[in-house]
Amino acid sequence: MDFNFWDPFTWIGEWLLNLLVGWGLAETIALTLLRFAGAVVLALVLLLIGGVLFTWLDRKLSARIQDRLGPNRVGPFGLFQGIADTLKLLTKEDIIPAGADKIVFNLAPLLVTMSVVGIWAVVPFAPTLIGTDLNVGLLYIISVGSIGTLGIMMAGWASNNKFALLGAFRTVAQMVAYEVPMVVVLLVPTMFTGSMSVHAIVEGQSSLWYVALAPVAALIFLTTSIAELGRAPFDLLEAESELVAGFNTEYTGIKWGMFFASEFLHGLTISALTAAIFLGGWQGPGAEARPLLGFVYFMIKTMVVYFGVTLLRFSMPRVRIDQLLDLNWKFLTPLALAAVCVTAVAEKLALATNWSRLGVHIIANVGLLILTLGALWVRARMVRRRFETEQMRLAARSESAAD
């Protein structure tokens, strides 16, 4: 096969496969091996390049927001700060606390990292670059993500530290809860495409991004993703002011580094997923014929979402745990259910043309938003009134007590 500049992925794949088969391996095994290798390469590339480069960007950005300079010592503009940090982490002492459950303690960071990297198996970077096109892709994302939850749980428990355990408790409460609206809302793109395959979903957005058809669903997905990620404003699992550092309090060195990297990678993952599921993935002018272009589009979209999330992270205060759960169970879950129902009805009502679909869905979503805001307004008024009467009651009581 000739080398095509616009589609290097297929070429590399074919070349490697031929190489392996040439060595005498069966084709299926070779394919499996290649997939493994691909995942490893991907993870390494993302961890190293991403972890080093994007943390630098991240820190610069946060510094700007907080009116600081940020890293500026190592390398030009502090560009090599990430590498220095990595080296530092690698060389640090690996402490296992007394009374810890050693195996579980060591397994936990692995599990967490694994779950995050595992998600990348189904993310379509370009028309020809996808780990595996599972027909249950969306469900796969959820299930692998839940393994990460398990890892955090294990980390918190094995540390033999009550802050770590509390952090783990919060994690479970938060992640299990936020999985519900996430799963529900993922039904919307599934409904549009008729498939749970992420690749098919991206292909289904060739003419219209789903964020235009279902803005409410996209918003819910992003919100729940941030909560799953455990970042501000939902970073209760490691609320420094309350829990030291949450579930990873007792971790040091490279194991802590793995948690850090996986959290960072997770942020990238949800950005990529949002881009793939709602922002059209690699879709863009000319992407079909030139997969490399598609890859660029995809990365641009991912970055846009990622820095949106980052900005959110540095500009929002942390919510309280009860507010967090209230938001999920009393607001996001019903809204997600309503969004699914509304989308289903709108999809049935709309004609097959793009404009008709767009119009009907936008109207439906705006209606849903107005209803939601109305309900919120009514509720807020009720709460305020209750609060006021309570205040009045208290005032009256204190007065009578004074008498």
């Binding site: 249950v136 299930s143 692998v144 839940s146 398990l150 294990m154 479970v172």
Partner: protein, 179 residues
């Protein structure tokens, strides 16, 4: 012995060993983690059976929900975190006996089934279409709509029931404190 058989044997051995550890390990949290492994093994068996949807569902529900719930429960019932004493009761021998007898009986019974040695034929439906077929079967009036609906009602009932059962009854004392 083909590769598939080797994979099967490895996975099922892992699953069974993990299962045994589930019922014998002293620490409940360990037991729960072994349960995760065991159920994960079952998920892989599903993949071998070309039921990828069920495999993923197995991971989501069993590992993502049930196992975590169990671990959560274990941690909530704090005393058990420091498990002391024997994990098994006085009648464990009766349980073991019953289990062994049952296993023996089941194997004998399995031996009597004529189709027991069937080899899997190729799937008559492309694997990609299985999922939509399952979906339509579950909501089809002529398919499994009724059991599916009943299951959803059951889920709802379980949800409400567990809420009611596990809710703390501290309301009264709170009121009392206020006064």
């Amino acid at each position: 012995m083909t590769i598939a058989q080797i994979v099967f044997l490895v996975i099922s051995a892992t699953t069974l060993v993990a299962s045994i550890l589930v019922v014998t390990s002293r620490k409940m949290v360990h037991a729960a983690l072994w349960l995760v492994l065991s159920l994960g093994g079952v998920a892989v068996l599903f993949v071998l059976l070309q039921a990828s949807f069920l495999a993923v569902v197995q991971v989501v529900i069993y590992i993502g929900a049930i196992a975590i719930l169990i671990i959560f429960a274990v941690m909530l019932t704090r005393r058990m975190m420091y498990d002391t004493g024997s994990p098994i009761n006085r009648y464990w021998w009766a349980g073991a006996l019953a289990a062994v007898l049952l296993f023996a009986g089941l194997v004998v019974m399995l031996g009597q089934i004529p189709s027991i040695t069937t080899q899997a034929s190729a799937l008559p439906i492309p694997e990609g279409e299985l999922l939509s077929l399952l979906g339509t079967a579950l909501v089809d009036v002529n398919g499994y709509m009724l059991p599916f609906e009943v299951a959803s009602v059951l889920l709802l009932a379980a949800l409400i029931g567990s809420l009611v059962v596990a809710r703390p009854m501290e309301r009264k004392t709170e009121e009392g404190d206020k006064r």
